[in-house]
């Protein structure tokens, strides 16, 4: 579950995080609630703060004000050690640029997070690979894979350690339209199957439509998009 209240994030024009300075409030009293196992998508114009929100939620950045509770972790108060633990055990991240470890093969990449978290479940990983259709590439170097295949590996990696929440930052941004829909379908279905909360940032209407809830971000705040608006 993800619960966000009164979230504020200022970005000073010189990139310094200083709440005292007069900065631009990129996130301005944002509120968000996602139930466990649900999926949500966030859309918005470029530079509106979607990625910043994701960074805040995944503990990669600190808020200026407000509360962030992700899977019962009140991460707005966490120090670095606890954030490390949080990231290691509780969440998984899928990046736009895949960000796979190029010196490892597919299987090692996927198992990395699970090993790190100390809950390696080969069975689970095998299932993931089957589901994502990458089981027969397990020994290949990730650099040899196509974009779609790489992203699927990334998704598997994000899920290998059975996180409570998965954040995806424009996961289909680097993929073509056809691959894009296949991958996003997989992402949503896999998360649903594992009862993992999924928060996904995207600029694609089609991808956003796959989520249980769709949000739009403007002026530092989220607005829920009604299903009818979504379909248009």
């Amino acid at each position: 579950m993800i619960e966000v209240r009164n979230l504020v994030k200022n970005i000073a024009s010189s990139h310094r995080q200083n709440a005292q300075k007069n900065g631009i409030a990129i996130i301005d009293n944002l509120e968000l609630l996602i139930e466990q196992g649900q999926s949500a998508s966030v859309q918005g114009a470029s530079g509106c703060g979607k990625t910043t929100l994701l960074h805040l939620l995944s503990g990669l950045d600190h808020p200026c004000a407000g509360t962030l509770i992700v899977a019962k972790h009140a991460i707005h108060n966490y120090d670095e050690t606890r954030l490390d633990y949080f990231r290691r055990h509780t969440i998984g991240i899928v990046f736009q640029q895949f960000h796979l470890l190029e010196s490892l093969n597919v299987e090692d990449n996927i198992a990395f997070t699970a090993r790190l978290a100390g809950n390696l479940d080969p069975h689970h990983i095998n299932n993931l690979m089957q589901q994502l259709g990458i089981a027969d590439m397990r020994n290949q170097r990730v650099t040899k894979l196509s974009g779609g295949e790489q992203q699927r590996v990334a998704i598997a990696r994000a899920l290998a350690h059975k996180p409570r929440v998965v954040f995806a930052d424009e996961p289909t941004g680097n993929l073509d339209e056809h691959t894009s829909s296949a991958v996003s379908e997989l992402l949503f279905s896999t998360c649903r199957a594992l009862n993992t909360t999924l928060l996904l940032v995207t600029h694609s209407n089609d991808v956003a439509a796959l989520a249980d809830d769709a949000y739009h971000m403007t002026s530092g705040q989220l607005t829920k998009i009604t299903p009818s608006l979504q379909k248009s």
Binding site: L60, T81, L116
Partner: protein, 820 residues
């Protein structure tokens, strides 16, 4: 369009100065090392040529008398011989005498070399020298440094063999020599009442067989003139090794340049891609990039030359001393400003930079997607192994068969290249092993090792430079240390007595008589130039007397000894030869040498080959009593050249007292400790330059590795971000990154060790032998080697850690956002 690009480039350089600064620094270092050595070598060459123009330094003919006589030639005999050889038409043979002595100018003592030459004969050969030799019949010529001190009323005196005479002539001319030289006519010199022992200079560029035949016909024993004895030939090995070291340094520096260029290109690539997108043609970009790099190279070269010039000035006295001590070649290295050298060095630096840049530029010009590090395919790895073995094989052949110095240096190069190829094979091999072993352990460790492979590929050149520098360092240090300990050990053994006194025969025998009265045991050493025959021919060699007592024989350090050798020596049937003699004439223990004495021939067996480090001449040791009993009468023996005497007493004060009573100076009395001290100090001074260059090269290589690491840390930023986001803690990540670099450095260092030792072996057993014809045992100082390796690794780790810590200190978010 050009101005736009140039402005943007300048702006970029200002904002990201470090790659440019590294580049300039690297070129500076390369230029400094090269220019320092070239300037010094050139200064020495000027000295040799200038000195050779009037008196070739070592081109002399030592005629020691007829073969059948062990008595040295009298002056009358010399004059008769000289007349004969000149009347036979050998106008290129000119009588001269050379003395290294003291010149007192207004009370200040200067070490000078006095050349007394038959000025008239010289004038028959040379008419356009400065000064004209014909002028010497009425003037004395002095070198410029002495001439500068003289005025009309200066009192000058010459001290030779403890005798001081004032020089009566008022008019003085100046030679072109820069080293303290006094040049005068032999007739004038003879009037100073200094004992005449002329030698003969042969002004010929090739070995004159007819002179040798002339001498052989008259049964004269001589040390023949060969062109190999010119100072240029003698010091060739020294200058070559200086040059070799500077080239190594240059090469290593240019590895840094390549790394700096990679860093530079990486930083510049974004801007250049924008230019391409703006429509600026590729050729224009490349051309302007080359211009910019050439400019940086120029700046670096100019600064480097300035530093090199400065270094040359600082090192010149030390090198002059070395040349004097090691080769007996007096130089002053005054001509250190030599502008014509600057231009080629600048050109070489610019050219080398542009050549080094060609690969990164090519890569830049064709790249469009982000850099994907390629892991080694197994084919390339086995290629590396193949080359390593091939080069090692060639090196081995070289070690076994190379006879000339240049070939041996080529062997050394092969050895180092083989090491580099071996290194390229080792990285993936060892790392793969580690990866496999760590597969089931923690994922971070596993990733650490597998990523180390990537780093190894990226930092290949830097690691090669580090390897070469470290191996060279190990090799050179081991060689120098072996030499030093061999020398020290040899001296310790050889110096049997507690005191040694040097002087001329008269003084020594006076002292001996006095000490005999006091009951103090002395041991004088007789020496003369004798002509020895063996089955392959004959040669002249400095022959010394050596006591056949157990004490003294134990002090002789031998390379080879016949089983019964010492007894044979005692029984007057054997003699010792030094390594130089053994090498030069192909002699071994068991060979027979004969000498003609009066009307009989003595056959003696070579019972041992003794070590004689640092002696450029050959040497024979004969039992003292053999000489005294069979070759001379006692009176004749006593009048032979006795130059040094061992005194078996520790009572330094009493000795000085006796010397005072006899009116002799203390200066030539040395205690054993002092002799050791002086000898080792001379040794250390000789190797100061080598050590310095060595150290600099190592530092340079270490920093090359660091530059490479800086480059890579840049590129691994986003990987760090990914790992952190996955949940790797900061400390874990830092440890992992540091570990990766350390693995590479450690593998490099460990690979450098055996190759460094192999290099030491080649230096000691091959280079030294080919260059000097003597050899010392190789001893490995593990502590010193370990120290060098550990120190370099520590420096690398420190810098690596610092840079990694710095790179990890930014916010996570920024790391993640490292899009291309």
């Amino acid at each position: 369009m050009y101005s736009v690009i140039l402005k943007a480039s300048a702006g970029h350089a200002k904002q990201h100065p470090w790659p440019v600064l590294w580049l300039i620094l690297a070129v500076t270092a390369a230029a400094a090392g090269l220019s320092a050595v070239l300037i010094l070598n050139n200064a020495a060459l000027q000295d040799y040529q200038r000195q050779s123009s009037l008196i070739p330094l070592h081109a002399d003919l030592k005629v020691a008398g007829t073969i059948n006589s062990v008595e040295p030639m009298t002056v009358a005999q010399h004059r008769a011989f000289y007349s004969q050889i000149r009347a036979a038409g050998f106008r290129e043979v000119v009588a001269f005498q050379r003395e290294n002595t003291q010149l007192t100018v207004n009370g200040d003592a200067l070490e000078v070399t006095v050349y007394a030459v038959d000025a008239a004969a010289l004038a028959s050969l040379v008419s356009d020298a400065v000064p004209d030799p014909l002028g010497l019949v009425s003037v004395i010529a002095v070198s410029q440094d002495i001439a500068a001190r003289l005025s009309a009323d200066t009192a000058i005196a010459l001290t030779i063999n403890d005798q001081t005479v004032s020089l009566p002539w008022v008019s003085l001319a100046s030679t072109q020599d820069s080293h303290a030289t006094v040049l005068l006519d032999l007739h004038a010199f003879a009037q100073l009442n200094i004992a005449l022992q002329p030698n003969y200079v042969v002004f010929a560029t090739e070995y004159k067989r007819d002179i040798v035949a002339f001498l052989a016909d008259r049964q004269l024993q001589y040390t023949p003139y060969t062109a190999e004895d010119s100072p240029i030939a003698i010091t060739r090995s020294f200058h070559m090794s200086l040059l070799a070291m500077s080239l190594v340094m240059f090469l290593v520096c240019f590895f840094i340049v390549i790394n700096a260029l990679n860093l530079f290109m990486a930083g510049r690539s974004r801007m250049l891609k924008i230019f391409r997108q703006m429509g600026i043609p590729r050729t224009v970009i490349v051309r302007l990039l080359q211009v910019e790099l050439a400019l940086y190279a120029l700046i670096g070269a100019v600064i480097g030359i300035f530093l090199g010039q400065l270094t040359a000035f600082l090192l010149a006295p030390s090198i002059a001393t070395t040349l004097n001590n090691l080769f007996g070649v007096p130089v002053s290295l005054g001509e250190l400003l030599h502008f014509p050298i600057y231009v080629p060095i600048i050109a070489i630096c610019i050219l080398a930079t542009l050549i080094s840049a060609s690969v990164p530029i090519k890569r830049l010009a064709s790249q469009l997607s982000h850099i994907t590090p390629s892991t080694e395919s197994s084919l390339a790895v086995s290629k590396a192994l193949f080359f390593s073995l091939l080069l090692a094989g060639i090196a081995l052949i070289g070690i076994l068969f190379a006879g000339q110095l240049s070939m041996v240096f080529a062997t050394v190069a092969m050895l180092l290249l083989s090491g580099v190829a071996c290194l390229y094979w080792l990285y993936p091999t060892i790392i793969r092993l580690l990866v496999n072993v760590s597969h089931r352990t923690g994922p971070l460790i596993h990733w650490t090792f597998s990523h180390a492979n990537v780093i190894a590929v990226h930092s290949r050149l830097a690691c090669a430079a580090f390897f070469i520098a470290l191996a060279t360092h190990i090799g050179m240090t081991t060689m120098v240390d072996s030499f030093r300990s061999a020398t020290e050990d040899w001296l310790q053994h050889r110096l049997i007595a507690e005191h040694y006194y040097y002087g001329d025969t008269g003084a020594l025998l006076t002292v001996k008589e006095r000490l005999d009265n006091e009951g103090i045991r002395t041991q004088e050493r007789y020496q003369m130039n004798l002509y020895w025959q063996h089955e392959n021919g004959g040669f002249a060699a400095q022959t010394y007397s050596y006591p056949a007592t157990t004490e003294y024989l134990n002090g002789l350090k031998v390379e080879k000894l016949l089983p019964d050798g010492l007894n044979q020596f005692r029984a007057h049937r054997g003699l010792f030869i030094n390594q130089q003699l053994a090498y030069r004439h192909g002699l071994d223990v068991g060979d027979t040498l004969s000498i003609a004495v009066a009307d009989k021939t003595m056959d003696l067996t070579v019972v041992g080959i003794h070590y004689d480090f640092g002696n450029p001449d050959t040497q024979v040791l004969l039992p003292l009593n053999l000489l005294l009993q069979t070759t001379w009468t006692y009176e004749q023996a006593m009048s032979q050249a006795v130059r040094v005497m061992a005194i078996h007493t520790q009572d330094n004060i009493a000795l000085k007292q006796y010397l005072d009573e006899l009116g002799l100076s203390h200066e030539r009395l040395y205690s054993r400790a002092r002799l050791l001290e002086v000898s080792l100090a001379a040794f250390d001074q000789t190797f100061v330059i080598t050590d310095a260059l060595n150290l600099v090269t190592l530092l340079v290589a270490v920093f090359s590795l660091i530059t490479s690491i800086l480059l890579i840390t840049n590129q691994t930023q986003n990987i760090s971000g990914v790992l952190r986001s996955i949940g790797v803690t900061r400390m874990q990540l830092i440890a992992s990154l540091i570990g990766q670099y350390l693995i590479i450095a450690l593998i490099t260092a460990l690979c450098a060790l055996p190759f460094g030792l192999a290099l030491a072996y080649v230096l000691v057993k091959k280079v030294n032998v080919v260059a000097f014809q003597w050899m010392f045992p190789l001893t490995v100082d593990w502590l010193a080697i370990l120290f060098a390796m550990v120190t370099s690794l520590v420096i690398i780790s420190l810098f690596t850690s610092a840079s990694i810590l710095l790179s990890q200190s930014g916010s996570l978010k920024e790391q993640i956002q490292c899009r291309e």
